[in-house]
């Protein structure tokens, strides 16, 4: 989060310099991914993005174009993702357990839209940027495939970039105005303008003199208004903006003085200052810790360091010389590290975990829940919590599963994390607070550790989900179980073996395999030929998990619906379009500005949550595998980054589920068809032609062959129907009416084809 309202002020002040792009020739640029993407996709672009979700249609295309530009000038980009949230950032997310502004905005837009169908809405909250956490998997996969360097910072990407720059690993940094807070002596890039072959740059010293502010004053204003390190606007400054405070300070006002009356604000202010100074960074040697003195000497000697800090520190060390246990650097204030940093940064994890974070291998939500004691659930994009959504997020089975996953993750961490009390907080209305229990003994890991999949494939064979499910059988499971501690021949090193092992263990945790390593009834579905021959095993698997966790009923799948008419056919349409939304419409990179559907988005949110659950389960079993290291061959002690990137790339369920466009296209097609049939005396074929023509017309800008892809979606629905029939046969689904709904829906499709 950049310094609130500063950027436009800088432009107003003409403090932003423009340079030709050629200046950056041969440079290595450290790029703050969050800022970069907020620049690529400002809130004025892809207005419908929050209504269709997924990967923004134009995003990867933009990045690709930029990378070509870099290549042309031999510029080496290093993309730095932000990592874990700091205490204040996480507290802001908890936000008094109220709806945050984007949730309120999304709900309002959807509600408005339901009442008036005028369109012309932007689903994106003004001045907001796209939340990038859901896109980590997609972006990292993209970077690995294109052989582009990336790094996930342990905490703040801005400070990580500062470290990289100070170590001269990057020549220049592309970041937001937050970078001004770090070292006021250098230039950094604020934005690229590829079309003009220019870039915008800020020079910190120049800005200070131009704004007529000292470094301290700039910091004070920015901490009052909110920035990366202090993400809230402090209560005394709710109506203020940077220009107004700038004016205030230039006329002799003091931010500090106005804070003194409010202890809560003061506390936040201090915490921000402490965070700015002590945010840990991933260092060259792989360790993680606060930036040390070498980086701070520059900025602090040049700025006006309040003399009282040094004095008070000195006096405290003088007055209590005996009380200081380890006064390593009692006099050098730059090396003073306070003893309550965990209140500012969050509790510390092991260096190895930070390494996996840097690869993009861990789900942050799990780690943040063990750091901050809360697993946080917030409203989905469609801003409505359906019964189904509740079941999969706060239902008993889900809570139990979450506890197991956390148990696996904490198996090899400090005992503190294994026993601390965690809770799941769902900021729905009303807010739910549920206890998570990760204190399971004996640990889940001790039950699944004997699963080791050794495929004996040739070197370099790549893991695929299709391949895994095709080989999946009860024999496959029993073959993968070892009886004792693994001997050397049973140990694994190949990415495909590692990912397969992790996945099989995850399947066990998810309940497809029981702890005696036999297939459960759900697991047997996985070995049915229907499943194994499917073109879309991933989507079918997600549906299976959904049905399993959600104890699904007809009502769960046909509500909510976009149509108020609840005829039989309308219900079928809703069901078909939701299931179709699981598949990806092959799209062109354009700003999509056409039809959207709240019901399809709602189902997508549900499936996305399922995807997260599966991914969390898989990742924690993998992390435990790495941390344990007893099942891994010692010869590959994993010091090759490419090797790690191969593993990361091959891990399934990391990328986000597709946007809703194919679901919307199917919904549009079927609605047109039904309307044509109901309204006129048209025969079936004429209605189909009308529907075909309509979706060609509506979706041809965004996709090449929408009609053919809708047909493909129908085929997928048939598969799902068959699988669902199997579920009914195995008595895994109780709701008879849902079975009938699938049958009648299938009939509707047959009618059309």
């Amino acid at each position: 989060m950049p310094i609130n309202t500063l950027e436009s002020h800088l432009f107003d002040n003409h403090s932003v310099n423009t340079y030709p792009f050629d200046v950056l020739k041969n440079a290595t640029i450290g790029i703050d991914v969050e800022h970069y993407i907020s620049r690529l996709l400002s809130f004025k672009k892809e207005l419908n993005y929050d209504a269709i979700s997924g990967v923004p249609l134009t995003l990867l295309n933009y990045i690709d174009t930029d990378l070509k530009m870099f290549q042309e000038l031999n510029i080496r980009p290093l993309f730095v993702f932000p990592g874990l949230k700091s205490t204040s950032q996480y507290e802001k997310l908890l936000n008094g357990k109220e709806l945050n502004s984007s949730e309120i905005y999304h709900r309002k837009v959807w509600d408005d839209r339901t009442y008036s169908r005028d369109g012309g809405y932007s689903f994106r909250e003004p001045w907001s940027s796209i939340p990038i956490r859901p896109l980590y998997g997609d972006l990292i996969t993209f970077f690995i495939e294109n052989n582009i360097d990336y790094l996930v910072a342990p905490y703040s990407a801005v400070v990580q970039l500062h470290y990289l720059e100070s170590k001269q690993m990057v020549d220049v940094v592309y970041s937001s105005t937050d970078y001004l807070l770090l070292n006021p002596t250098q230039k950094f890039i604020l934005g690229f303008e590829f079309q003009n072959r220019e870039f915008k740059s800020l020079d910190k010293t120049n800005i200070l003199s131009r704004l007529n502010l000292s470094f301290e004053q700039l910091k004070n204003i920015s901490f009052a208004l909110g920035n990366e390190f202090q993400p809230e606007r402090l209560p005394g400054f709710l109506s203020a903006s940077f220009p107004s405070l700038h004016d205030y300070v230039n006329n002799g006002g003091s931010i500090i003085n106005s804070l003194l009356q409010d202890p809560a604000s003061l506390e936040k202010f201090q915490r921000g200052l402490a965070l700015l100074k002590y945010v840990p960074v991933l260092k060259e040697d792989g360790s993680v810790g606060p930036l040390n003195s070498e980086l701070f000497q520059v900025s602090h000697s040049s700025s006006s360091k309040p003399p009282n800090i040094a004095q008070s520190a000195n006096s405290s060390s003088q007055s209590t010389p005996s009380s200081v246990n380890t006064p390593l650097y009692p006099k050098d204030q730059d090396l003073q590290i306070p003893n309550d940093l965990h209140d500012v940064i969050g509790q510390r994890l092991s260096n190895e975990l930070y390494f996996y974070i840097s690869l993009g291998l861990i789900n942050f939500e799990l780690l943040e829940s063990i750091i901050y004691d809360h697993y946080l659930e917030r409203l989905p994009l469609d801003a409505q919590v359906t019964q189904l959504y509740e079941k999969i997020t706060i239902g008993d089975d889900s809570i139990e599963l979450k506890g197991k996953v956390l148990n696996v993750l904490t198996s090899f961490l400090n005992r503190y994390y294994q026993v601390k009390r965690l809770q799941l907080t769902a900021v729905y209305q009303p807010v739910r607070e549920l206890t998570l229990n990760q204190r399971i003994q004996p640990t889940i890991y001790s039950k699944i550790r004997s699963i080791i999949v050794k495929t004996n494939q040739a070197n370099g064979t790549v893991f695929t989900l299709d391949g895994f499910f095709q080989n999946f059988s009860s024999k496959f499971v029993t073959d993968s179980v070892i009886t004792d501690y693994p001997n050397d021949s049973q140990k694994i090193s190949q990415p495909i073996d590692i990912v397969s092992t992790g996945l099989l263990r995850a399947l066990t945790i998810l309940g497809f395999v029981d702890y005696s390593f036999a297939l459960t009834k759900w697991g047997e579905l996985l070995v049915s030929p229907l499943f194994q021959q499917s073109k879309h095993p991933k989507e079918l698997f997600l549906l299976l998990v959904l049905f399993k966790l959600g104890k699904i009923t007809e009502r769960d799948l046909v509500e909510p619906s976009d149509s108020k008419v609840t005829s039989d056919e309308r219900k079928s349409i809703t069901l078909i379009s939701k299931i179709s939304g699981l598949l990806k419409l092959k799209t062109r990179p354009i700003n999509y500005n056409s039809k959207v559907s709240r019901s399809v988005l709602n189902f997508r949110s549900t499936i996305s949550k399922i995807n997260t659950i599966v991914s969390e389960t898989l990742n924690s079993s993998l992390i435990a595998l790495f941390l344990s290291a007893t099942e891994l061959e010692s010869s590959v002690r994993l010091n090759d980054t490419d090797y790690w990137r191969q593993i990361v790339k091959q891990i399934p369920f990391r990328t986000s589920v597709p946007n809703t466009l194919l679901g919307v296209a199917t919904l549009t097609f079927l609605t047109t068809y039904i309307n044509a049939k109901e309204e006129g005396p048209e025969k079936g074929t004429e209605a189909v032609e009308k529907a075909n023509a309509f979706i060609e017309q509506t979706f041809s800008p965004v996709s090449e062959s929408p009609k053919a892809q809708v047909v493909e979606a129908f085929e997928f629905f048939k598969e799902v129907g068959s699988v669902f029939k199997l579920l009914g046969d195995s008595k895994l689904v109780a709701d008879k009416s849902l079975l009938q709904r699938f049958e009648s829906s299938q009939k509707l499709i047959d009618q059309i084809q």
Partner: protein, 666 residues
């Protein structure tokens, strides 16, 4: 007066003044002749320059011949052997470019290669010097001075070769009558009745064109003077005072020295002895330096450059508030571009030195053309010399760019305006004044880091628009095309291919451990505690204490809390009373030592409290009015800050906040 008017047609000077130029362009006989004659005179030069002068003469002859043959039929033979015939339209300034190119209209291929189909020839052909083998001019008649270009074009277009029957332009007609130079005679009024008086005379004071127009033609005028000028409010209570003030200013202006500029003097109604002054010199000629005779070659130039460097600051200081400054001088005081300074502000001593030239003969206005005086000849020769001057000494290249040298030495009237055109387009006012002062690049500009300066002095490239000081925070978002990688990255950090690192394997703790000691046991994650390593047993709250601060105004005015009982701070902090004795008055003479880029650590610049300035309430309400933002401080009714006066207006301390040394309030 009348005498001068009469003299004008014959007085076109030898310099390249615009008026006489335009006359020459029309191919008028006298103009060309005079030029030719002028060169003839210049051939009586010392032997050293004979050959050069001879070459110059040849050029002039060719020029003469070509000028006379414009419009004639020419045959141009080119290198390929082809010959083209056509009408000679123009030729380039071969004296300057040293190569002759010829432009021919309606060309025809007479003889030559087949590749050029005659039909494909354009209307106008340009023959470059390198292609021309020979140029033949048919029927060249030097006496046919009337054969001017427009007339010839008209003839050629009509296919009418007999120019006598063709349409005749003014020059045709006047040129014919002046083919032979006649004796000029002073105009003598024929009688007392014909005395029309001067134009300025008020003899027609009652003439009202609107009235006459309406009476004669019934046209009613809609003219309103106030559309074109500011209406003077004569009812204004201050009108009398303003009138007096205006008259005072006018008097001041008029009483200023005319610096030897007779034209200015005449405008101010001063009686000046202008006898013997050329009309051109008086009204339009370029002001020239008198002390040419003392200067020689490179020393002259270097001396002038030096003189300028010294002269510049003192001249800038002439600007004083309230005193009238001519427009061209104003520009200099609002700009920080040396080019503008040089081209606009420095004219003053030029005009001072410009005096009626004593040696100059006044006979130019007479009917007889007198031989030039010795002094004039000397000036002529110096002009000649300076135009051919090549510098014996090379000045340092970085301080004097080559082309500036050229402009400097040639002393063409346009040189100054050219420089200022290039360097500062907005300063158009400045370019209108011609000057002989050379443009001197400021050597310091070379080391300018474009980002190194804040505020007003932030110029670094000649093409930049320099904002006036009033808007010193002007636009800086224009692309900086000339910036180098060094300027952006710093000299030591320019990225190169060799320096590019592969970062992939950094940050891998397995690798790092492997490097150090492959066999060492790896730190197990369960060993890592949930707390961070610390070096001191203190809370961050202690390390980042928040104390009330004494903010400093940018202009060194200072706030602190004074005596307010409402502030909760005063219960816990002994702040104001303890602080005051600590303050040390600023030492006079430190003055504005720091620019905006050099913030000072304000601790020595505390000023004792002096309560007599602007009431703080005014300050605050001013603040609120402007931004509509109520500072939290005043919202809560905290102690209202009071203000100390600025000890030195304009002094800048970097806007530092002063903090008390008192212990943490918490």
């Amino acid at each position: 007066m009348s005498q001068i008017k009469n003299a004008r047609p014959n007085s076109s000077g030898t310099s390249g003044h615009r008026r006489s130029n335009s006359r020459n362009f029309n191919g008028s006989g006298p103009g060309s002749n005079r030029k030719y004659n002028g060169k003839e005179e210049s051939s009586q030069k010392p032997a050293v320059q004979q050959s050069k002068v001879a070459a110059q003469n040849n050029d002039d002859r060719l020029l003469f011949a070509l000028a006379h043959s414009i419009g004639s039929k020419v045959i141009v033979t080119v290198g390929s052997g082809s010959s083209y015939s056509g009408m000679l339209v123009s030729f380039n300034d071969f004296a300057a470019d040293s190569e002759l190119s010829v432009i021919v209209k309606y060309p025809e291929l007479i003889d030559g290669s087949q590749e050029n189909d005659a039909e494909e020839l354009p209307e106008t052909l340009v023959f470059k010097a390198k292609d021309i083998v020979a140029v033949e001019i048919e029927q060249l008649d030097f006496s046919k001075a009337h054969n001017s270009y427009p007339a010839a074009i008209a003839e050629a277009a009509e296919g009418n070769t007999d120019s006598k029957k063709a349409f005749k332009t003014d020059t045709d007609i006047s040129g014919k009558s002046q083919s032979k130079e006649r004796e000029l005679q002073k105009w003598v009024p024929e009688g007392p009745d014909t005395d029309l008086g001067n134009l300025e005379d008020d003899t027609h004071a009652n003439w009202d064109q609107f009235e006459v127009n309406e009476r004669k033609f019934g046209v009613k005028s809609t003219y309103d003077e106030n559309l074109y000028t500011t209406r003077i409010n004569r009812d204004d209570p201050d009108y009398e005072r303003k009138l007096v003030e205006a008259e005072r200013i006018a008097k001041e202006i008029e009483s200023q020295s005319y610096n030897g500029n007779i034209h200015v003097a005449e405008e101010r109604g001063l009686v000046v002895d202008d006898s013997g002054i050329d009309e051109e010199d008086k009204y339009s000629g370029v002001l020239r330096d008198d002390d040419n005779s003392q200067n020689k070659g490179g020393e002259l130039l270097l001396g002038m450059l030096k003189k300028n460097v010294k002269a510049q600051p003192s001249e800038l200081k002439q600007y004083k508030a309230g005193r009238y400054v001519p427009p061209n001088h104003r520009a200099a005081n609002f700009h920080h571009d040396p080019a503008v300074l040089q081209s606009s502000a420095i004219t003053q001593d030029t005009s001072k030195t410009k005096k009626p030239k004593e040696g100059q003969d006044s006979k130019t206005g007479d009917s007889k053309e007198q031989p030039k005086t010795k002094a004039q000849k000397e000036i002529e020769s110096l002009k000649e010399f300076s135009s051919n001057l090549k510098l014996p000494k090379k000045p340092a290249e970085d301080s004097v760019p080559k082309e500036k040298n050229k402009q400097e030495t040639s002393k063409t009237p346009s040189s100054a305006s050219k420089v200022s055109d290039e360097s500062s387009k907005p300063a158009t006012a400045a370019t209108t004044t011609s000057t002989k002062k050379p443009f001197k690049m400021n050597p310091n500009t070379a080391s300018f880091s474009p980002m190194g300066f804040g505020g007003q002095t932030d110029f670094h490239a000649p093409h930049r628009i320099i904002p006036a000081s009033g808007t010193s925070q002007g636009s800086f978002t224009r692309p900086k095309r000339n910036i180098s990688q060094q300027a952006f990255f710093g000299a030591n950090r320019v990225p190169t291919v060799a320096k590019q690192k592969i970062l992939k394997d950094n940050f891998n703790l397995f690798l790092e451990k492997h490097r150090k000691d492959p066999k060492a046991p790896f730190e197990k994650p369960f060993v890592t505690p949930p707390t961070w390593e610390t070096t001191i047993e203190e809370s961050y709250r202690v390390l980042f204490p928040i104390n009330p601060e004494i903010p400093m105004m940018p202009d060194n005015r200072m706030f602190f809390y004074g005596g307010g009982q409402t502030s909760p701070i005063h219960n816990t902090s002994p702040l104001p009373q303890q602080l005051i004795p600590r303050m040390i008055p600023m030492i006079p003479g430190q003055g504005p030592s720091g620019g905006p880029g050099v913030p000072q650590t304000g601790s020595q610049h505390f000023v004792p409290y002096q309560p007599q300035l602007i009431p703080p309430q005014m300050m605050m309400s001013h603040n609120q009015q402007r931004r509509g933002y109520m500072p939290p401080l005043s919202q809560s009714g905290m102690g209202v800050p009071m203000m100390a006066p600025p000890p030195f207006p304009g002094h800048y301390n970097g806007g530092k906040h002063m903090r008390s040394d008192n212990k943490d309030l918490r």
